[in-house]
Subunit: 345 residues, 2 copies
C-alpha cells in the first residue's frame, strides 16, 4: 500500500479508474478518449492529488527541461536584467533555469560545464569568462546546444549560438555626439580588455576620434574594472591627469555610478563643467538632474533572444547555430553640453 506521504502514480490512477496506465499517459499527453473515461481520470487525479513525476518522465524521455546558465557574477544588475527576461520566457515554455555563478573564475567556469552536463541540462547559456571557449567543448561533443551571451568567442562559429550587442557602433556614436558638440578632450573609462565588449567600446572610441582627425591621447583612457569603486577612482585619475578634459564616458553601469558620484563630490557640474554620457539605463539614470544622456543596451531583448534561440535549437536539433547582434541606442538627456573653450571662442 502506498503511504500517506508517497505521491500518487499513474498506476494509482489506473487502479482507481479501471483504465490502463498507457491510456492515462496518452491522455495526459494530449490524446483524445471517451468522455466518460476522461471524466473518471480527472476525478481520480483530483482525488489522489496526482501530478506527473517529472523525474520519471525526464528519465524516460531523456530530457530535463532545464537550461543551465553560467554567469561571471550574479551581483550585477546588467546580468540580472538579462536573466529576468530569460527566466520568465523559458518558464512560460515550461523550462526552468539552473544558475551557476563562476565568480569570474575560468577554472570554476570549466568545472560548472561538467556540473551542468551531469545534471542533464538540455542546453547551456553562458556569459563566458574564458575567451577561447575551450571550456565549452565537452558540451558541444555531447551535442548539448550552447548559447554564448554578450561576448564574442572566435573559432566556434557554426557550433554555438551567439547573442551580441554592437558595442563598437554605439560607443562610436556616443563619442561622435560629444565631438559634434565641440569636445576634443574626451575621457573614456573602460573595463578589462580581456572582454570583447571592452575592446569593442575602446575601438568605437578610437574610430570616432580618428574619423574627426583627433589624435588619441592615451592619458584620457582609464582602464578600470567595471566596479563602482573603479569608476570613482578612474574619474578622479582622469581629472588629475587631464585638467582640460571636457567630457567623460564611463562604459558600464557601476562605473557610471562611481564616476557620477565622484563628479558630484568635486562639485563639478554636469553639463556646465563636464559633459557626461553614462551606460545602461537603470536605477541612477532615472533620477539624475539633469537627465543623463545614456547608452541604453537592450538588456531585455538580449534575454528574450537568448531564450528564443535556445528554445529553437531544442525544438529542432537540426537548426543551425547563428550569431545575432543587437543595436544599443543613445538615449538623449541634457548631460552633454558645449565645452567651455568653444563657448569662449
Amino acid at each position: 500500500m502506498r503511504s500517506i506521504t508517497m505521491p500518487a502514480t499513474l498506476k494509482d490512477i489506473a487502479k482507481e479508474t479501471g483504465l490502463s496506465t498507457a491510456t492515462i499517459s496518452k491522455y495526459l499527453n494530449g490524446a483524445k478518449l471517451r468522455e466518460k473515461n476522461r471524466i473518471a481520470i480527472e476525478q481520480a487525479i483530483r482525488k489522489l492529488d496526482y501530478t506527473v513525476n517529472e523525474y520519471a518522465r525526464g528519465f524516460k524521455l531523456n530530457r530535463s527541461h532545464i537550461i543551465g546558465v553560467i554567469i561571471p557574477d550574479l551581483n550585477n544588475l546588467f546580468i540580472t536584467n538579462i536573466l529576468v527576461q530569460m527566466e520568465t520566457l523559458l518558464r512560460e515554455h515550461d523550462y526552468s533555469i539552473m544558475i551557476c555563478d563562476c565568480h569570474t573564475d575560468a577554472a570554476l567556469e570549466r568545472e560548472l560545464i561538467h556540473f551542468l552536463l551531469g545534471r542533464m541540462v538540455d542546453g547551456i547559456i553562458n556569459m563566458p569568462v574564458c575567451a577561447t571557449g575551450e571550456h565549452l567543448k565537452p558540451a558541444l561533443s555531447k551535442k548539448v546546444p550552447v548559447l554564448v551571451l554578450d561576448r564574442m568567442i572566435s573559432g566556434l562559429e557554426g557550433q554555438i549560438d551567439n547573442i551580441l550587442i554592437d558595442n563598437a557602433s554605439i560607443a562610436r556614436r556616443a563619442v561622435q555626439s560629444l565631438i559634434d558638440q565641440g569636445h576634443r578632450q574626451i575621457g573614456l573609462i573602460i573595463g578589462p580588455t580581456d572582454y570583447s565588449t571592452s575592446r569593442e567600446r575602446l575601438e568605437g572610441y578610437r574610430q570616432a576620434l580618428a574619423s574627426s582627425g583627433i589624435t588619441v591621447n592615451d592619458s584620457l583612457i582609464a582602464y578600470s574594472d567595471f566596479t563602482v569603486e573603479g569608476g570613482y577612482e578612474s574619474l578622479c585619475h582622469l581629472l588629475k591627469c587631464n585638467p582640460n578634459m571636457t567630457a567623460v564616458f564611463p562604459t558600464n553601469y557601476d562605473m557610471t555610478l562611481g564616476s557620477f558620484i565622484a563628479l558630484k563630490e568635486q562639485n563639478i557640474r554636469i553639463p556646465d563643467d563636464m559633459s557626461f554620457i553614462g551606460f545602461d539605463d537603470m536605477g541612477l539614470s532615472r533620477v539624475t538632474h539633469p537627465p543623463l544622456t545614456i547608452v541604453a543596451q537592450p538588456l531585455e531583448q538580449l534575454g528574450i533572444y537568448a531564450a528564443r534561440r535556445i528554445l529553437s535549437r531544442l525544438e529542432d536539433p537540426d537548426e543551425v547555430p547563428i550569431s545575432i547582434t543587437l543595436s544599443a541606442s543613445l538615449k538623449i538627456g541634457t548631460s552633454v553640453g558645449v565645452p567651455r573653450h568653444v563657448e569662449d571662442e
Copy 2:
C-alpha cells in the same frame, strides 16, 4: 548498438570490464574493490567517456538534488548578495538551485510553488510576497522542507525554517545614534509596510524616539517603495515638508542611493547640513566621501545560514524547523554630525 551520440551507461562499462553493473554502481558510490577491477573500471570510464546519468539516479532515489528558490525580484542587489552565497555553498554540497522570480506577484508565487514541486525539488527557499504563507501549504503537505528568508510569516511556526534579521533592533540603534548626537527632527524613508521588515524598521524608529521622550512627527516618515526613484522623491518630499529636518535615514540600498543623489543635487552637504545613515553596505557606500554611516545587514551570512539549514533538513528529515535571527551592525562613518541648532546653542 549504442550510437555515437548516446552517452555510455553502466551496462557499457560492465560489458567493457566484464564486471556487473551492481559492482560498478557500488564502486561509483564509494565501495572498495580489487585494485585490478578498480583500474579496469577507471579505464573503461575514460574510454567510453562515461558519466552517471543523474536523471536515472534521481529517479531511482527519488531525490533531485535541486533546491527551488522563489524571490520577488532578481534585479535587486540585496537579494543577489544573499543568493550568491547560497548558491556557492549548496553547489559545494552537490545541490543546484532553480531560481524563479515571481515579480512581486503573489498569484505567480503560488503557481511557482506548484511548478517547483512538479520539478521534484528537494527543498524550497522563499523570500515571500504573500504574507500569510498560504502559498506554502502544498509544499508542506508534500513534506518538502521550506525555508522562509528575511520575512516573518506567522502561523507556520514549527513547520518552516525562518532566517531573519533583527530589523527593529538595528533601526532603533541607528536612530538612537542620531538622537545621541542631538538630532530631534529625524526623517525616515521606509518601504511598503506589507513587509515585516518595513514594519519592524518603523517600529525601531518609534522605539528610539519614544525612549528619548521625542514625539513622533508623522510628516517625518516617508512611505516609499524600495526603489531608487522612490528614495529620491521621498527625500525631496521630506525636505519640503520639514525644513527643520537635520538627519535622514533611508532603509534599503536603492532608497539610500536615490536619497543620496537627491541631497547631492540640492547641494546639501553631508554631514554639515544633513546627517545621513544609509542602508546596506554595497556599491555606493564604498565610494562616498565622507564615508557613510551605514546599516550593514549580514547578507552573506543570511545566504550561508539558509543553505546550511536546508541542508540539515534534507540530511535529517526529523530535524525540527527553527527560526534564526541575525543581527545587523551599524558601520560608523562620518556622515553623522551634530545638528546646526545644537552647535548654535
